[in-house]
Amino acid sequence: MAAIVMDNLHKVYAGGVRAVSDIMLDIADGEFVVLVGPSGCGKSTLLRMVAGLETITEGRLTIGDRVVNALEPAERDIAMVFQNYALYPHMSVFNNLAYGLRNRGVLKPEIERRVREAAAMLEIGAFLDRKPRQLSGGQRQRVAMGRALVREPAVFLFDEPLSNLDAKLRVQMRVEIKQLQRRLGTTSLYVTHDQLEAMTMADRLVVLNGGRIEQVGTPMDVYSRPATTFVAGFIGSPAMNMLPASLLRANGNADALSGLPGNADLVGLRPEDIGLDAVAPGGVRLQARLDLLEPAGAETHLHVRLIDGKTRMTVRLSHVPGLTEGADLVLHAPAAALHPFEAESGHRLL
């Protein structure tokens, strides 16, 4: 059990690549924190710095009550689940789990007990004698989890552990990992580029972009009040619509914008906040033409174009409207659903 404190962490790779900059982050004991961001934003790098697999160029990293900058991975009391699982191919599942315990001089009966216990928890007890290649992808994933939790470390680190599973299994494992973590109460740092995975699993989300933190907060915080245009576009699917304030004013929506700060020159509108029915007066009203209608089961996505003929928007409805492509329609959204941004800095206002 341990808290993690990242104090101004930087990473510059040999060759000058600045992978991670200015990371200030406190992770409480027992918290499940998810690092999310687009490919190449430095998620893995930051995780590997915590693991001790990458050196820390600058800054101070504390796990529990120790500064661990100079400690080897083995001395940091962490366990990691790799994207490709990194199971030892020549060892049985039992030995994969036992390897870390043996290296630490745990006694044989204790190893036996802990491996069986972890195996039972993950329902891999039946495969203990098999080699990793004799397991399915999902089973390998469980073994990788087992190897991490059998050591009873202070911190779990996950680097996109579910990205090699099919969609259904991914949802199932997502739930299991989250439940397991709740039960064990182990501080966890979880990397993913999948914003849905991030939203559903995290106690707190850390959105990274270009090696820097864009926003930290609970998933609902980040969703309902994205701090930057980047976060607004990254969290939520389909992505938030971004409209120039001038365009809205020119289309007779000056009233709706009157409550926003004067320097709000960019306005965000989530697809799910837009509807076809009129809303209370003071809301946004836009005329548009339907380009494409995408029924996706429980919801329907409308791809529309405003009457200027250029600006595209996405609308998400919970029903299939009786419309044909090419039809003219009127979109409505309440004023409270508007997210004001300053275009130049990308920062949220209010």
Binding site: A51, G52, L53, E72, P73, A74, I78, A79, M80, F82, N84, A86, Y88, P89, H90, M91, Y99, G100, N103, R104, K131, R133, R147, R151
Partner: protein, 294 residues
């Protein structure tokens, strides 16, 4: 997986394409092997006038010949020495280079050079280096009080030929080991590091077991090399001496057959060698079929 299959419309074309290889095999391998088999059951009188059929007598005599048994023993020492030395050094170099490069362009090409050197030239090279009167190594050994003379001492001679033979094979082994090391996923080593294994332990419990198919393959290749492909090295350095100390089986075939002109015995020795090669090849192939043992 789907294999691509080409169909020839003509009848003779596939045979014509195979013919060169078949002809070469027939002339240079099958025919001499047949000759050796045939000769091995015959005996010529000393003037070469009369040839008699003696059955397996040539083989029986060999098995009773202390010189032949000695040669077998020497071959064993030589093959084991060469294999162990060349593989151990190659693995050491491969590990060092692998740590240095991690898949970038490399110095490895330099280490491949020895393999391009003909055995006889390798032999001459080492003959110079170890030459008791003009060589640099005996001179240096003399300074630390060791009197090197591979013309008098059988042990020195054996060490010399083992070093010469192993040196040439190191580069070949090195390439295979390096390729093997490069294909060990970095994440396995990282996982082991997190699991608390020391550097040495990571190597011996993770990396080395994963190299085992390559190690086994090289083991057979090196034994075959040491036993059959080192004629040039022996011939250029010790010529089997002193006092039979480096007269390994292949060299003895030549000495008894071409120098001693005992064709029957020489042929019988060839047949024995041939049997050993076949056995090693069978082992190799049977193992390769099941080589992924993890």
């Amino acid at each position: 997986m789907q294999t691509k299959r080409t169909t020839f419309s003509g009848y003779w074309l596939p045979y014509a394409l195979l013919a060169p290889q078949v002809i070469i095999t027939l002339i240079f391998f099958i025919w001499p092997a047949g000759q050796a088999l045939y000769q091995s059951v015959l005996r010529q009188d000393i003037f070469g006038l009369r040839v008699t059929f003696v059955g397996l007598d040539n083989f029986r005599r060999l098995m009773e010949d202390p010189l032949y048994l000695n040669s077998m023993q020497m071959t064993l020492v030589f093959a084991v020495g060469t294999t162990v030395l060349s593989m151990a050094l190659a693995l050491l170099f491969a590990v060092m280079v692998n740590n240095m490069i991690r898949s970038r362009d490399s110095y490895s090409t330099l280490l491949v050079w020895p393999y391009a050197v003909a055995p006889a030239i390798a032999g001459v090279l080492w003959w110079f280096i170890f030459n008791p009167s003009i060589g640099i190594l005996p001179y240096m050994l003399d300074m630390v009080g060791y009197d090197w003379n591979h013309r008098r001492s059988g042990t020195d001679a054996m060490i010399l030929v083992i070093i010469a033979a192993a040196w040439k094979q190191i580069s070949y082994n090195f390439i295979f080991f390096l390729a093997g090391l490069q294909s060990v996923p970095q994440s396995l080593i990282e996982a082991a590091a997190i699991d608390g294994a020391s550097r040495a332990k990571r190597f011996w419990t993770i990396v080395f077991p994963l190299l085992s198919p390559i190690t086994f393959f090289l083991l057979v290749v090196n034994i075959v090399y040491a036993m059959f492909d080192t004629f040039g090295i022996i011939h250029a350095t010790t010529e089997g001496g002193p006092a039979q100390a480096t007269n390994i089986l292949v060299y003895k075939v030549y000495r008894d057959g071409f120098v001693g002109l005992n064709l029957g015995s020489s042929a019988a020795q060839s047949v024995i060698l041939m049997t050993i090669v076949i056995a090693l090849t069978v082992i190799q192939f049977r193992y390769i079929e099941r080589r992924v043992n993890y």
